[in-house]
């Protein structure tokens, strides 16, 4: 491998100002996992199909595997590690547990980040809204029903 020059990136990461070094061709997912030790975001497909790496970039849901790490300079990134607040599980995390919405767990961080983005956008989604919004998150263990029920449970609890 060539000796790649590194870029210092300043970002707001899960609410805190953060500076990290990355190679220009590293994806945000690689920087989060390999450079910053935030291994909650998962690599499923690495090409934007599965949603396991989803994060919020300036509040917008994106695949972190399809973002180059230097792109987040000056932007705000929220990962699964930033979803719980003050040591308390986010209601989505709690309801995923109660509804047993996971088996192996690889897809779960992506689902929770996606569902949070949905509820931020639309606090009272229909089941159709939930299924459509989560269409880009793939789960190969449980199927989707328990996941959808958990999200709807939180939505109903909010409304």
């Amino acid at each position: 491998m060539d000796m790649a020059k590194k870029i210092a990136v300043t970002t707001t990461l899960n609410g805190e100002e953060s500076i990290f070094l990355c190679e220009p061709r590293q994806t945000l997912l690689e920087a989060l996992r390999d450079n910053l030790g935030l291994i909650g975001s998962k690599e499923g497909c690495g090409n934007g199909n599965c949603g396991a790496c989803n994060v919020l970039l300036d509040g917008v849901l994106v695949n972190s595997c399809l973002v180059l790490a230097p792109e987040v300079e000056g932007r705000a990134v929220v990962t699964i590690e930033g979803i719980a607040e003050d040591g308390e599980l986010h209601p989505l995390q709690q309801k995923f547990l109660e509804h047993a919405s996971l088996q192996c767990g690889i897809c779960t961080p992506g689902f929770i980040v996606s569902a949070k983005a949905l509820l931020d956008d639309n606090p009272a989604p229909s089941e159709h809204d939930v299924r459509l919004w989560l269409a880009g998150n793939l789960c190969r263990c449980t199927g989707y029903d328990k996941i959808v029920r958990a999200v709807l449970d939180v939505a109903e609890g909010d409304s």
């Binding site: 491998m1 060539d2 000796m3 790649a4 020059k5 870029i7 190679e23 220009p24 061709r25 994806t27 690495g46 090409n47 934007g48 199909n49 949603g51 989803n54 970039l57 917008v60 849901l61 994106v62 695949n63 595997c65 399809l66 973002v67 180059l68 230097p70 792109e71 300079e73 996606s114 983005a117 949905l118 229909s126 159709h128 809204d129 459509l132 919004w133 989560l134 269409a135 880009g136 998150n137």
Partner: protein, 303 residues
């Protein structure tokens, strides 16, 4: 894996310089949903990524009585959430709601969809139906190209070395204008079009006659096709199923698809006609003000 450079210019002129620098292997980046995937999979060789999203002109949405100028890097998410675009160009949302899932729409741009130049791109028949003009910048200055002339082959287009797309210009919709984009996929969402069809119409004031129309079909030729003869056949004709069927026949005749994993030649030719007729019906309903973007969203499986 080869190292690359990353630059994020803040003006069109800086971007032109950045793309011209080095060994001619710099590539512009917008949403990255095609570029980064291709880079990661080793299908693309480049030495510099030029991120265009810090350039105000590339991220601008300018809408007025003169029409809409959409920066080439504006994301589908930004378009979906722009009420002025939803009101004036509801058919555009047909495409921006269909390109990938939610998180792809958070990044993917119409400029990128056009520059990736896939024959099956979900925005291009729609852009053709809307008579969009492409604004291009490069080392030799600026130029414009009608969108139906932009793509030249699968993955290829009129952009010369060092050039990039700056903006898409939509004319102001005339009175009694309606448009629509429909695609066929075997799933409910997150798939690549087997066939797509975009259509626009301008009706007479009483809504009974088609004054002009444009039809475009995708995934049935090496590039998205502008089926000018189908639109021409509708001009001056009364709104009727017979009239629309004639346009559908012309679209079917114009389609020259291949058979592949997504569909066969006969299926794609058949779909070209069916989708053209349905897209025209919806465009007419919209021109008459009787169908909303959300109703059409449900037709495409997107509530």
């Amino acid at each position: 894996m080869q190292a690359i450079d990353f630059v994020a210019p803040t003006s069109v002129d800086e971007a032109i310089s950045a793309l011209a620098a080095g060994s001619g292997m710099a590539r512009p980046l917008s949403g990255g949903t095609d570029l980064i995937a291709q880079l990661q999979e080793g299908r693309l060789t480049l030495d510099t990524v030029v991120d265009l999203k810090r350039i105000p002109e590339l991220m601008a949405i300018s809408i007025s009585s003169d029409g809409l100028t959409l920066g080439a890097s504006v994301s589908c998410h930004s378009i979906n959430n722009n009420q002025a675009i939803r009101d004036a160009y509801p058919a555009l949302i047909d495409s921006t709601h269909l390109i990938g899932g939610t998180q792809i729409q958070g990044r993917a741009s119409l400029g990128g969809n056009l520059c990736n130049s896939s024959p099956a791109a979900d925005s291009i028949p729609n852009l053709i139906a809307h008579s969009v003009t492409c604004h291009i910048a490069g080392p030799n200055g600026r130029r414009t190209v009608p969108v139906e002339e932009f793509c030249t082959a699968p993955g290829r287009n009129v952009l010369e070395n060092g050039e990039f797309l700056v903006a898409l210009e939509f004319p102001a919709p005339p009175a009694n204008f309606g448009a629509a984009y429909l695609r066929f996929i075997p799933r409910n969402e997150m798939d690549i079009a087997v066939v797509g069809a975009g259509a626009d119409v301008v009706l007479s004031d009483d809504g009974s006659t088609i004054q002009s129309a444009r039809v475009s079909i995708g995934a049935v030729a090496p590039t998205p096709l502008f089926v000018q003869e189908a639109g021409d056949a509708l001009a001056g004709e009364p709104v009727s199923e017979e009239t629309l069927a004639k346009a559908a026949d012309l679209a079917r005749d114009a389609a020259r698809p291949i058979s592949d994993m997504r569909g066969t030649i006969p299926q794609r030719k058949h779909l070209s006609g069916v989708l053209t007729q349905r897209a025209l019906r919806i465009a007419i309903d919209r021109a008459r003000g009787t169908k909303t973007v959300d109703e059409l969203g449900r037709l495409n499986g997107h509530g």
